[in-house]
């Protein structure tokens, strides 16, 4: 192929009249995809306390705590500051206790505020 003078110029000129492709993020928000891996959501009613999620979590972000001595009731403490949003807990749970929501704006200045308790 032979060399031409300024073959990029038409593309550059065309772009002068196009709308910018950048989304102005905090003012405009794009919808997250259907299977987006956002924040972990836990349903205490379904938990049987098998601890598979605790053993499988690569970030050690999940704590399952037994609430009562007599009944099989559990609460979950999510360390969202450690969570890597891989959704392995959703896959591992035998009773489908976990799901991921579309929430991604979870940044705070203090990491201790990221602890979430589901009970």
């Amino acid at each position: 192929m032979s060399l031409r003078i300024a073959p990029f110029l038409p593309e550059l000129l065309r772009s002068l009249f196009n709308k910018p492709v950048t989304v102005k993020y905090p003012f405009e928000k794009e919808a997250v995809p259907k299977d987006f891996r956002g924040t972990v959501v836990f349903d205490p009613a379904k938990c049987i306390g098998c601890n598979i999620c605790v053993n499988d979590c690569p970030a050690e972000a999940i704590e399952i705590i037994r609430v009562s001595e007599t009944e099989k009731k559990f609460k979950m403490l999510l360390h969202n500051d450690r969570c890597i949003h891989c959704a392995q807990c959703v896959d591992s749970c035998p009773t489908k206790t976990y799901r991921m929501d579309g929430e991604f704006e979870i940044a705070v200045l203090d990491r201790h505020q990221l602890k979430i308790e589901y009970k």
């Binding site: 192929m1 990029f8 492709v21 299977d35 891989c86 959704a87 591992s92």
Partner: protein, 401 residues
Amino acid sequence: MEFKVQLGPQHPALHEPISIRMTLDGEVIRDADLRLGYNHRGIEKLAESRTFIQNLYLTERICGICSFSHQTCYTQGVEKLMELVPAKRGLYIRTLVCELERVHSHLLWLGVAGQEAGFESFFMYTWRDREVVMDILDWISGNRVHYSMNTFGGVRRDIDEMQRKKILDTLGLLKQRTDYYLNLAASEPTFVGRLAGVGKLSRQQAIDLCAVGPTLRASGVPMDVRKDDPYAVYAEIPFEVATADSCDVLGRAVVRVKELIQSYNMIEFLLKNLPEGPFKVKAPRKVKPNEVYSRYEAPRGENVHYIKSNGSDKPERLKVRAPTLANYPATIAMLKNGFIADIPLIFAAIDPCICCAERLVQLEDARGGSSRVLSFSQLRAMANERAKNTDFTKREIAWPF
């Protein structure tokens, strides 16, 4: 007159810490030496204390750009150890994500090459088009960078009819853009003039120095793990190994653009021939004692994982050889007799991922050359000792305005 110059570990031309010691004759590099180990993270040691499932996400984090290649390499190795035959549909989806990742990695590289060559608008346009493939990956996996699609025995998410159609529709745009870049790379005189003849690596040198990936293929050696030792479903897909004979940075750019076009055809083939059935099979948690060697053609070249199991649910040893490490000897050969101004371009041409290749730190005396082994507490004591002598007077300097 010859003189010695050290470039890095922190330098504006290099995106990650690496140090090059050069012997210069005027502006010409006569000899070069690389020093690594500034970004060591201890991933291999960490992997020994985690279960096979937890390591899926650890190996994914070896690299940010080719995250899926490390994860797939590891998954395939563990599947061999488990003697597990993955689900057919799962393998198709896995191969699809492999190729989508190759597309995004090569588009990223094209942009970086444009930037290093001083062609900033090319960088902007390729990165704009890269967003399209990033969005596709986001739709099917739920994340733009760490897809986490693999699991032992298949993949974690299925592709539905709507996603399949959407990807096929968007592929047309990517194809059209890549054709345009191929024409541009071959006809824009400033771009061609900057890349041609830089970083020469002859065919024999490339073979002798064990170069991998597009660096090797641009020297005219048609070697590709996908063809030579097919994994996943590559044996069933029609594709050609892209090569170039110019042995320079321009050749490496052409190989990558040709691979992009091959990848689009493969993605189309995979989506049109997606078999029905389950996308994963159940995998055991414990693995019999054995060892395995897994190969994978990452966008940057051949990626190798060695995994040893001891009968428990944790690996006894995980060894990672990232493609960048294999390309370092060839890079030194390319740097020799080149100009200082070509260093960023030659480095960018191997698509370096420096922290992926950091597997070992050796403490060496910069003057004497003797090496020693230190424990963590000794290292910490050394750091504290050094911090004592820090000059803190700068802290009190006030902002003058």
